[in-house]
Amino acid sequence: MSNVFIAFQTNEESRCIIDAIIQDNPNATINEQPAMIKIDVPDSLTIKRSTVEEKMGRAFDLQELQIHLITISGHLDESDEEFTLSWKQ
């Protein structure tokens, strides 16, 4: 089993995104570093648009993640509703 990860710059919007990730990925491990937050999850990590919208209280396009992202690891699959990183098999 391998971890996938994603890292964000720390700011107000990414705080909501991270809350959403924690809610939807119970196995997530949070690792805070200067000015950034890294989240590791075994095998697969999903960011759901609906959860982020709930946390932010506004409409959210998953492509807005671009603004806050620092790095990722894993295969990416992106739809209008979900942004998923995974190691297959």
């Binding site: 890292a7 950034m36 671009q66 603004i67 992202l69 620092i70 790095t71 209008d80």
Partner: protein
């Protein structure tokens, strides 16, 4: 008026009509003439339509999000400059990491811009071409945001003032320079493996995350912001590199050995360049986030391990050099700093001996190697420097023909022995620092015999200004070399202790705390 009942397109379908549907099979000119470069490497592609688009950004979304990033970034740079943010960094030694960055790394961003323009024109499939083009555009962003962030430092500190000139000439900068020259002169698929995969996917986290986190830790918001902001594009680049590997491997089993060889070669080439970053982390950041060894373990051994586990289903193996790199992680930063220190008369940044606390930190982080092999020489140099006998080597070092690093790496099984390797090719002898570098040469000797090796170029008389006359009495080659580099001798180079940077920073900061 007929009622048009149109289906709403999902992100994937929409992206398809917005990109790959734009291309067509040419008939007035043969496709092989329109795309002359994507076959000679031997990579077999049967169906370009099988390419899976990573991040599906259309241009309107790209402009929108990237402009928003730029507005934020430049607002921070402006605020940082207006507030003399440079005086808020931990100590003036930190600024030397930015010199190394601007002269060593930023010009590579530029090369990446041109390199992806090349693949963005030459890949036959529209999907990869669009992704490469966007990366080309991102890469010019990176060099420019770096120049713009560091521009203010150039106004107050030495060593930055002629970075593009230095990048093409300075001895140690031929390491990063030759790395990218090697990549861009390779065929388009090899370039994608070299930069898109090995560098952007396997190694980029080692460059940006620890370094930029380090900048944040040392109070440099401008560098932190350009670093993280650049890294946000990197996420897109990483998916491109990974997709490219998968695509090649899925297209034809014959591609596997070629791709594997490129992964082996470029992982190693990248590791050799990254020793400069590791050295920044271990020696140049006054406040340290993590050691190079720790960063290597997290970002290469763990994350890279996950990646290679995943690629195992295609038959890809962990690069052979990983084993040696795993041994080297305990050594290379100490070896590199020792080299930069003794050639400190010819570096465009300052060097120094770590203070006693810092030496202890290194001992703690490198319990197997630091005290045994490296502390004695550093302490000896510190004592000599105190006596006014600071160590500067004037004799040029032997260089590895491939990575161009001075031959300071040691044998994997004996850290007290320099690792010497050599090959003969067409009556000439060539020297290498390691087995992986020798293998790279042996595979493509016709390429590496062309290398512009700084030591040899000096001997050939190619590194002096036009006015210099090596036949004149009293000709001082080192002084003339520094002129060729455009050094302000005594200001850009030498020890941090006693430097103009050190004095100015202290005076300015002192002024800022008084009324």
């Amino acid at each position: 008026m007929d009622m048009r009942v149109k289906k709403k397109l999902g992100i994937k379908e929409r992206y398809t009509v917005m990109t790959r549907d734009l291309g067509w099979e040419t008939t007035f000119q043969p496709m092989d003439d329109v795309f002359p470069y994507d076959k000679f490497e031997g990579i077999k592609i049967h169906d370009w339509d099988k390419w899976e688009d990573p991040f599906r950004l259309t241009m309107d979304a790209y402009w929108k999000y990237q402009a928003e990033k730029e507005r934020k970034l430049y607002a921070i740079i402006d605020a940082f400059n207006q507030n003399n943010g440079h005086l808020g960094v931990t100590d003036a030694r930190y600024i030397n990491t930015l010199k190394l960055f601007l002269t060593g790394v930023s010009p590579l961003e530029y090369m990446a811009h041109r390199g992806f323009a090349h693949t963005g024109r030459q890949m036959r499939g529209v999907g990869p071409r669009v992704a490469c083009q966007m990366q080309s555009l991102d890469e010019i962003r990176h060099i420019q945001t770096q120049i713009h962030s560091i521009s203010n430092y150039n106004k107050y500190y030495n060593g930055f003032h002629d970075f593009t000139h230095m990048h093409s000439r300075l001895w140690y900068l031929s390491v990063p320079r030759s790395f990218f020259d090697d990549a861009i002169t390779a065929g388009p698929f090899e370039y994608m493996v070299a930069i898109g995969f090995a560098f952007e996917y396997v190694l980029t986290n080692l460059l940006f995350v620890p370094f930029v986190s380090g900048a944040a830790y040392n109070g440099d918001m401008a560098a932190t912001t350009f670093g993280f902001s650049a890294q946000s594009d990197e996420a897109r680049h990483m998916t491109l590199g990974l997709e490219c590997i998968k695509f090649m491997l899925e297209q034809d089993p014959d591609n596997l050995p070629i791709v594997q060889r490129w992964i082996d070669k470029w992982t190693w080439r990248g590791i050799r360049v990254l020793m400069l970053v590791g050295t920044m982390m271990d020696y140049m950041l006054p406040k340290r986030v993590m050691s190079w060894k720790e960063a290597w373990e997290i970002y290469f051994e763990q994350n890279g391990g996950a990646l290679f586990n995943d690629l195992a289903r295609y038959g890809i193996k962990v690069p052979k050099c990983a084993e040696q790199a795993g041994i080297d992680k305990e050594h290379i930063t100490h070896q590199t700093w020792a080299a930069l220190y003794q050639y400190g008369a010819a570096t465009d940044f300052h060097t120094w001996i770590p203070n006693p606390e810092e030496l202890d930190w290194l001992s703690a982080k490198y319990p197997n190697t630091f005290d045994k092999y490296y502390r004695p020489r550093l302490e000896h140099w510190a004592e000599e420097a105190k006596k006014g006998n600071r160590f500067y080597t004037k004799t040029l070092p032997q260089l590895c023909q491939v990575c161009q690093v001075p031959m300071f790496f040691t044998e994997p099984d004996d850290p007290t022995k320099i690792s010497y390797r050599e090959s003969d090719f067409k009556e000439e002898k060539y020297h290498f620092c390691s087995d992986p570098c020798k293998e790279i040469f042996d595979h493509e000797p016709e390429k590496y015999v062309q290398a512009w090796l700084p030591t040899h170029q000096v001997f050939q008389g190619n590194c002096f200004t036009e006015e210099a006359d090596p036949a004149a009495p009293g000709f001082d080659p080192l002084a003339e070399l520094l002129k060729y580099y455009h050094f302000n001798n005594g200001r850009d180079n030498m020890d941090f202790e006693g430097s103009e940077d050190q004095k100015n920073f202290a005076a300015w900061r002192n002024e800022s705390v008084k009324n």
